[in-house]
Subunit: 316 residues, 2 copies
Amino acid sequence: MQIIITGGGGFLGQRLANSLLKSSLPFDTLLLADIVMPANPTEDSRVHCKQLDLSVEGAAKSLVTPQTTLIFHLAAVVSSHAEKEFDIGWRVNLDITRQLLEAVRHINPTIRFVFSSSLAVYGGDLPSVVNETTVVTPRSSYGAQKAIGELLVNDYSRKGFVDGVVLRLPTICVRPGRPNLAASSFVSSIIREPLRGEEAVCPVSRDLDILVSSPDTVIRNLIHAATLKTEPLRWRTVNLPGLTVTVQQMLDALKRITGEDTVARVQFKPDESINRIVTSWPGALDNTKAMQLGFFADVSFDNFIHQHIADNKQIA
Amino acid sequence: MQIIITGGGGFLGQRLANSLLKSSLPFDTLLLADIVMPANPTEDSRVHCKQLDLSVEGAAKSLVTPQTTLIFHLAAVVSSHAEKEFDIGWRVNLDITRQLLEAVRHINPTIRFVFSSSLAVYGGDLPSVVNETTVVTPRSSYGAQKAIGELLVNDYSRKGFVDGVVLRLPTICVRPGRPNLAASSFVSSIIREPLRGEEAVCPVSRDLDILVSSPDTVIRNLIHAATLKTEPLRWRTVNLPGLTVTVQQMLDALKRITGEDTVARVQFKPDESINRIVTSWPGALDNTKAMQLGFFADVSFDNFIHQHIADNKQIA
């Protein structure tokens, strides 16, 4: 029994690997694949790491084996990157997903395929609260690519070519490390950078509603998707629960926990291209379907900050 | 100024060509392309015909020219065919659409690209009346492929790489000729075959609601899409108006116009695989968006039968 994580070198992939190793989920090997050689997060001999450009012809087929039982497909080009580099976005976010599904179909169609989609599939004139019956009209290439991946996973699942689950992830906060090319990068920056004594730039207004999930909750939900009973699911797509907070509420929590000085390190500088993408995303979710299926929800933004501080202590 | 019709040898392509030649739309050449050599429906020297397998690498690029101003992309593998031949469905309905959009992007991004999608993008638990805010959860590979094509046309349009319009066509009735591999093939058969003295099989129940459009109305709407102002459209997808009729109402109209004997030629033989696809499609449409944009609607099913009888007289 083999588990594969694509994007296994990334923040989520590494964290997921660590959690899988501590979980009761049975497996013999855990393969972390990424375009740059993933770090091995552990001494556990079950973990294997592989450098692989999945966009190369035949690469997906070389990854999947008859022993594979579970794939977490996390590899993606993020939103602003896909918006700037149109061809790369389609190649990575659409073609790789399709090639992986084809590999699964021909090698072992019983594989559970957990596809990380995004609330960025939503866009345009949205109801104040969205759910799985809300129409998908993305306003970014990233959103379009993820929406197409969802349709692929659903059709392959309906045909019995894969056992897919699509999770639409809220924006994750707090991501560790440095800002990336996601339009939502600031959501972590405005907490993370001030906490380590650095300036951060917020490109959106204080009253913007943002849907966030903490890393721990997203990982729990990814693992839950691995064993979810899919027979009752007529449509395999689920909006993961997200907590709605305004930028101001995030900064208020930061002030409450760490004081006035920390918050003063956040500068507001509106950025039109980021605003256009981020304001097209939904600000509030109806979590009914996810909760009925046993997924987990965050309850307070203070916990997001405490989680990040605790993570940093562990590393230090 | 060149117009291209893919699927130009098909029923809609040929009929569209005839109507374009009679229309006030200005053009120098009208290129009909299809996988088998299209018939030239006229003596008009502006018409050119081309045999071309668009799924071959480079074929789409060889078709589009800097002089092309308008493409009607009608070529497709129909619903039951795409359900039976999974690979062919994706290659034709997804890959060709994508390759055509890539060709337009690089050769002349101002091209108006009219993409014929289908109400088959809808599926599953639908509201009693659907409109453009209804979520798209197709229950057939054909529907998934068309839904993906819609997302592609919208994203390429948003980026300024094409000037796209997506029309979701209702089931067309009465198609001439013979039954085809569309799950909806019976919708024409149960009118067409009895009219020429032949038996027809109806695989669904008498009380099933079907959304239909007459060939004349679909052609008018395709031509309307060619000159539609797209600036005000934030999302390029439009449900073409459809008339809701039950199978029984269709047969009642047939009886009214041609008598008892004709209707007696229709046998009811339930077919589970056709039922599963057809009953997943919507039975009623809210036409508001289409009507606001100036598209046309059918008003009575009697006219569908009169139109078909008149068509056959013209040919005879």
